[in-house]
Amino acid sequence: MNRRELHERLRPTLRWEAGLVVALVAIVLLGSLASDKFLTKGNLFYLCLSIGELAIMTLPLTLIIITGEIDLSVASILGLCSAMLGYLVLHGWSLGWAFLVVMALGVAAGLFNGVLVTRLGLPSLAVTIGTLTLYRGLAVVILGPNIVSTFPQRYTNIGVNPVGNSFLSWSVVFFLVLAVIFGVVLQLTPFGRSLFVIGQNKDAALYAGIRVKRVKLLLFVVSGFICAFAGILYTFRLSTAVQDNGLGLELNVVAIVLLGGVSIFGGKGSILGVVLAVAVYAALQNALFLTSFPQRAFGIVTGCLLLVSVLVPNAGSFVRRARAAWRRREARNTPAVEAN
């Protein structure tokens, strides 16, 4: 009985993640058929480089979406922190202090989002559309037309060198470590489980003694912190800080999280699914890059993936509804036939 219960509970999520694994295998197979460069070490390293910061930002957003909120300002926080790092280095700060200030700035940005959402009770969608514009605007104010690329090579090497002899970039290693931490917190701690309760039924969570507002506030702060970290990595990878670093990435981050099986309504999702979605996204982008597919039109693929990921779970209920409607019509028609 207990095992069956467990099985029942796991089935829907596992099915989604199994689907992602199948998709990933298919992409890897097709990719290596299409180009013999696909599975080379150099290409895989390039793949890791291209996805790292994006992947890191999906983790806190996953938790936020599970609680039924959203944070569209993630890429703007990345941009703001990158601009601030550039500004401080330009003004002769040592990197140690600059890191500290940048991380604090990320926390402050997240805290501001969180306070507006939880203490003023404003909808997070509207708040973070506002701060998306605000933080990006502040990045523009801080850096203006300056382009800073005087970072010490010791640090920028982190952005472009692989870890040891492997094909992994440092950003992907950070992502994997953070993913394990986030996964454990989400799946195995009371705090993590409470996020699902909040997402499924906020009032029930409140009556169960969960401090809903404080939890959400914390998540926004964590999101700011992690995005600041991603901002530092992003700056080092490109060795430049400009005002529009990471422009428009927020929608890619949201798309990957939803592709990972996280419900936009909250209450459902897993870190494993999101990690797999990151892999699917990166592999697909890379495979298409090796073919003649125009890189800038990759949005078509992102969009279709997103649609498929939300339409497929609905397909079952759609078929059921259609069948029910058909049966109703049959039932209405049948007496008429008998009357004849």
Binding site: L125, T133, R136, G137, V141, A255, R296, F318
Partner: protein, 352 residues
């Protein structure tokens, strides 16, 4: 019978007064935007008298027109508790496709060619709106996700169609540019046309049953379905209207900028939503007006112009636009809290 009548009358009288209170609150909200606009204009023109020059007015109104037109469709969608993130992409696709129709219409009278361009642009927009609407209502996918996806897909299609090329201004007839250039004493005819369209939209939303239905769906989707409002059809219509309007806006964009590549209108959706929210439309639907949304667009572009004229570095514009969104939603929240508290007080007074 006589004893029962005061008791019968009391709640209905209470309801009338309650309605009036809500009405006053929303009028004050719209009045707030107008007041902010007036203060802004007075202060800026004292600092820099050039701000009220005909040329400057012409520029501001010209910049507002396309944005204000887009807020009309977006406001309808948002009032029904949905959102259309794809308007920027639709605008870009429509601008390119309609702009390139002129290349295929050699020897056709320009008047006819312009008409064809508008029909093509609106058609492209309507097709996008149909896809958005169908996925949202039939596919039962939240519109935030649907339009996020179509934002990417439509932009991608735009990039694929354009390839490396672009529409250059020299391939477009001169009278096409005149659409956004001609003006009456520095008020562009385009602005007047947009104002008329928004007026029609406002009348529809205020006085037509299907318009009111959008408010009902937005304030309580379940209740709307229970009272028999065809929610799916209404929301579908709102998306098709929003798409068609974005398509028309794309043609106007082509007429305004002439040279078009695949980045036309990218990121514009956030400005449109910002204007709608600043204009007092609640992001989760059910309240606000299309006139308010258009005033929001006017306020947004006036502030940006004022900063420019006032000598503030253009680097500040984006940050200020962001701050304005936050101020607007905070004010809305405070108003609605005050309103709820006032209604509760009144109700408790009536019951005692």
């Amino acid at each position: 019978m006589t004893a029962a009548s005061p008791a019968e009358r009391a709640p209905s009288a209470g309801r009338i007064r309650t309605d009036r209170l809500i009405d006053i609150a929303y009028r004050l909200r719209a009045f707030g935007i107008v007041a902010a606009l007036a203060i802004l204009i007075v202060v800026t023109s004292i600092v820099q008298p050039r701000f009220l020059s005909g040329q400057e007015v012409n520029i501001v109104l010209g910049n507002t027109s396309i944005l204000a037109l887009l807020t009309l469709g977006e406001a309808m969608v948002i009032i029904s508790r949905n959102v259309d993130l794809s308007v920027g992409s639709v605008l870009g696709l429509s601008a390119f496709v309609s702009g390139s129709t002129f290349g295929h219409l050699h020897g056709v009278p320009t008047g006819v060619a312009i008409l064809v361009a508008f029909l093509v642009g609106i058609g492209v927009g309507a097709a996008c709106g149909i896809v958005n609407g169908a996925l949202t209502t039939i596919g039962r996918v939240p519109s935030l996700v649907v339009t996020l996806a179509t934002l990417y897909i439509i932009r991608g299609i735009d990039i694929l169609i354009i390839g490396g090329g672009q529409v250059v201004a020299s391939s477009l007839p001169d009278s096409f540019f005149q659409i956004s250039l001609r003006n009456f004493h520095n008020v562009p005819y385009l602005t007047m046309a947009v104002a008329v369209v928004i007026g029609i939209g406002a009348y529809y939303m205020r006085s037509y049953r299907s318009g009111r239905d959008l408010y009902a769906i937005g304030s309580n989707p379940d209740a709307a379905r229970l009272v028999g409002i065809p929610s799916g059809r209404r929301v579908f219509t709102a998306f098709v209207l929003s798409g068609s309007i974005a398509g028309a806006a794309g043609v106007l964009w082509a007429s305004k900028y002439g040279t078009l590549d695949s980045t036309a209108g990218s990121g514009y959706e956030l400005q449109v939503i910002a204007a709608v929210v600043i204009g007092g439309v609640a992001i989760f639907g059910g309240s606000g007006s299309v006139i308010g949304a258009a005033l929001g667009a006017l306020l947004l572009s006036t502030i940006l112009a004022a900063l420019y004229v006032g000598g503030v570095s253009p680097f500040w514009t984006q940050a200020i636009a962001g701050a304005m969104i936050l101020v607007a939603i905070t004010i809305d929240r405070l108003i609605s809290l005050q309103l709820t508290a006032a209604l509760r007080r009144r109700r408790s007074r009536e019951s005692t």
